[in-house]
């Protein structure tokens, strides 16, 4: 072979990023807005000089645009330092604001860990948390939910809009109606929904995370509806209507707002396109990988996310094998978590937790990406099973 010639067989195919549910790649609009705001929005928006007024204008515009996309009032929306911070504030602030009503928090078994850790802190401080189960498809048990929120001393309730791990969309409207009947405010974690699907009505507090829609990391949204009893759980700070302390990363906030506006205009078309690709993954994985359990509701689900578990396969080994072939995915298997516990979501559903893979698509993923994944996956799983000596079990 002449010097400098490329042996095409040696060229690794370009990486395929399939973990948008953790963080979508930065949207081009976010990048553009971020760079512009680094020059224009570095000053503190709360001071009385001209640089500050420019920063204030940018922050106000970002808040108005984001509120408009969400269909809420600008003064109901605060930016936070992350989606996790927003979730902590939503849970703890909701409980604090309603402490005269009682100290019971009702939540589904499949909330994000940020919500569960906030609930854990509430319990450590002497409060109570009541967990409501889901079925095998990851759907909230609505009867159990209605009973739980109607119990004595319930201060607030938390329900994820759609499972970040298995994609099952939750019956938020019905759950909200059960809460409304007895005046319990509902917090909805909409991290996987904002920028992809319409936000269901009926909530009192809502949170989201910019990196899930292609905004930069380090920006969360906390929306507290007018009239909701909510009190900041943090030490007093006058910023963001007193709801979240500390100086905002304004360039990142501006980028988050600009990219949300951009993805919202295209959300319905992307949802249709990605849902068809996810349907293909669900069908082909079930048909072409032996002993696999595709989990989550096949119909009432997020457009971009699918989860499956491969019997007898080590989840960590599977993630590494996929990474070597250029595929970035995440897993709910215990061996892939720092705590070595299986995903509480898979556990609550009673589905296989080892050999677990979550694929989540973003606007940049093509049909060719999905085809390459589907073509390579059966061989990767078969190799791992052969290495482990579990073929034919």
């Amino acid at each position: 072979m002449p010097a400098g010639a490329i042996a095409w067989a040696d060229v690794t195919a370009s990486p395929v990023y399939l973990d948008a549910a953790t963080a979508a790649p930065l949207h081009p609009v976010a990048r553009q807005a971020l760079l512009a705001a680094l020059d224009d929005g570095w000053a503190d928006p709360d001071r009385l000089y001209s640089q500050s007024r420019r920063a204030r204008q940018l922050l106000d515009a970002a808040r108005e645009a984001t509120a408009d996309t969400l269909g809420v009032r600008p003064d109901e929306l605060s930016f936070t330092a992350s989606g996790t911070t927003a979730a902590h504030a939503a849970v703890l602030g909701g409980l604090r604001g309603r402490r005269r009503a009682g100290r019971v928090l009702v939540h589904s078994a499949i909330e994000h860990s940020a919500v569960l850790y906030a609930a854990e802190q509430h319990v450590a401080d002497g409060g109570t948390a009541v967990e409501v189960p889901v079925d095998r498809l990851g759907r909230l048990d609505l009867d159990a939910w209605s009973t739980a929120v109607s119990g004595a001393q319930v201060a607030s309730a938390a329900l994820i809009a759609a499972s970040h791990e298995v994609g099952t969309v939750q019956p938020v409207e019905a759950a909200a109606a059960a809460c409304a009947r007895i005046g319990v405010p509902l917090y909805v974690d909409a991290a996987q929904v904002v920028g992809r699907l319409p936000v269901p009505p009926g909530w009192s507090v809502l949170t989201a995370s910019a990196r899930k829609w292609g905004g930069p990391p380090g920006v969360g949204l906390l929306v507290v509806r007018k009239g909701t009893r909510w009190e900041s759980p943090w030490p007093t700070d006058e910023r963001e209507s007193g709801r979240t302390p500390g100086t905002l990363n304004l360039p990142a906030v501006v980028a988050a707002a600009a990219s949300l506006r951009a993805v919202a205009t295209d959300a319905a078309a992307q949802a249709t396109r990605l849902a068809a690709l996810v349907d293909r993954i669900r069908a082909r994985v079930a048909a072409e990988v032996p002993d696999v359990e595709v989990v989550g509701d096949p119909e009432h689900r997020l457009p971009h996310l699918v989860t499956f578990s491969c019997l007898y396969v080590d989840g960590e080994a599977l993630l590494h094998a996929l990474d070597r072939r250029g595929f970035a995915v995440s897993s709910g298997s215990s061996c892939t978590s720092s705590t070595l516990r299986p995903s509480h979501v898979l556990e609550a559903m009673g589905v296989l937790s080892h050999g677990n893979v979550r694929v989540s698509l973003h606007a940049g993923n093509t049909e060719a990406d999905v085809e390459r994944f589907l073509t390579e996956l059966p061989g990767i799983v078969a190799d791992l099973r052969e290495q482990a000596g579990v073929v034919g079990l």
Binding site: L311, C335, E347, G350, S353
Partner: protein, 78 residues
């Protein structure tokens, strides 16, 4: 609930093993036993509590329930 008389026919000690190893051990051993036999899998990996019942469902074997150990009792049904 465990085996009817409380005593399994076979005990598989998978303590200290990470999933999927306890499930693999169960899948290897159960077919060697007669239909109706009960295996107790001792496993302290928290994932076993999820994965052993899930395996029984996928393979149409009977999950009898948790046992001390922590353990999981499974009856061969076919």
């Amino acid at each position: 609930m465990s085996a009817p008389d409380g005593q399994p026919d076979v005990v598989l000690d998978c303590l200290g093993q990470r999933c999927p190893l306890p499930v693999i051990a169960l899948a290897r051993r159960l077919p060697e036993l007669p239909v109706g036999a009960v295996v107790r899998v001792l496993a302290d990996d928290p994932a076993a509590a999820v994965d052993i019942p899930a395996w029984c469902r996928m393979r149409q074997q009977e999950f009898l329930g948790n046992a001390p150990g922590p353990g999981y009792d499974v009856r061969r049904t076919h």
